[in-house]
């Protein structure tokens, strides 16, 4: 009589730790994420292997997770993945759940928005020094997350602008506490004719997100 025998492997399931990642609303971004694991038993992934897909590229909410390199999961380590995500302007925090080799992976995703900076137009006098107020900038500032305005920077030809008593250098970030202390000024030209000083500016919120 023949023998019917099953050989049952003693393989342990991979165990992945929960991870967290943040994306900016209104963008499509690819980020690298390292997912810690234990109980690896030689599972292999190749660079570009698709581990998870949700929706289609270019669609708000699109997510694709691929292997970031050729990897063999042994013992303990991290699974490096590339996470590409298209985020709507109003996306709320969520978890991404999928399985790898029958083991669940949970990625917590939080979102923040870039602040929105709007045009600022000020009427000031010639032959005078204008000291900027916080409200000059906060009145032209919005943030979906209600993050407060942290810093501002001015771009273009910044002749006439003074910061802390010295000529302002284009693009230098100015903390709002400096603005409220009266450290940002514009010295208007001593001339009789009307003129306009045209620059652009950017806002940075307390999370470090910068307006377009």
């Amino acid at each position: 009589m023949g023998i019917l025998r099953f050989r049952i492997a003693a393989r342990e399931d991979l165990v992945f730790s929960n991870t967290f990642i943040e994306f900016i609303r209104g963008t499509t971004t690819t980020k690298i994420l390292s997912i810690p694991y234990t109980n690896g038993s030689g599972q292999q992934v190749l660079f570009g292997d698709v581990l998870y897909t949700h929706l289609s590229p270019g669609v708000d909410g699109y997510i694709q997770i691929t292997a970031a390199s050729n990897q063999t999961l042994s013992g303990s380590g991290v699974l490096d993945v590339n996470l590409t995500h298209t985020v709507s302007a109003t996306q709320g925090d969520q978890n991404i759940n999928f399985d790898f080799d029958s083991s669940p992976i949970i990625i917590g995703v939080s979102y923040n928005s870039k602040p929105i900076a709007e045009d600022i137009i000020k009427d000031i006098e010639n032959r005078s020094i204008y000291t900027f107020l916080n409200t000059d900038f906060t009145d032209a500032y919005e943030d979906f997350d209600l993050d407060s305005l942290s810093e501002v920077a001015i771009f273009g030809v910044v002749t006439g602008y003074e910061f802390n008593g010295s000529p302002y250098i284009e693009g230098t970030w100015i903390n709002m506490s400096d603005v409220s202390s009266g450290n940002l000024k514009y010295v208007s030209v001593d001339q009789d004719a009307y003129y306009e000083k045209d620059n652009t500016w950017k806002a940075k919120d307390i999370n470090g997100n910068i307006s377009n």
């Binding site: 900076a117 045009d119 000020k122 009789d192 009307y194 045209d198 652009t200």
Partner: protein, 113 residues
Amino acid sequence: MPDLILKITGYKEINIGASWETHIVDSTLDNLFSGIIDGFSVNLWTINSFDPAVIYRKSGVDMNIGDQFNIDDINNGIIVVEYLHGVSASGTTNFTITGAANYDINFTINSTI
């Protein structure tokens, strides 16, 4: 990237004192001030009212209704009148001159000045 635009006024600064004649200014205003200077050797002017298109300054400080200046201030060149360049304006500044009745200065400013 959003704009940060500063619109700077073009107030023109005119000395009323010794260098008055060197400025190309509205002839009405010029003549009136000259007339006052010529007609009253020692006088005190008190501003009773003035048109908002014009700013009077004494030693660089804005003057308001009730502020005073005299002939020495004018001759020393510390009284200036500024008006918005490029804007046509007209109006009346009313002064009280010591020893005389109220004196109105009518001015006309045109955009070519």
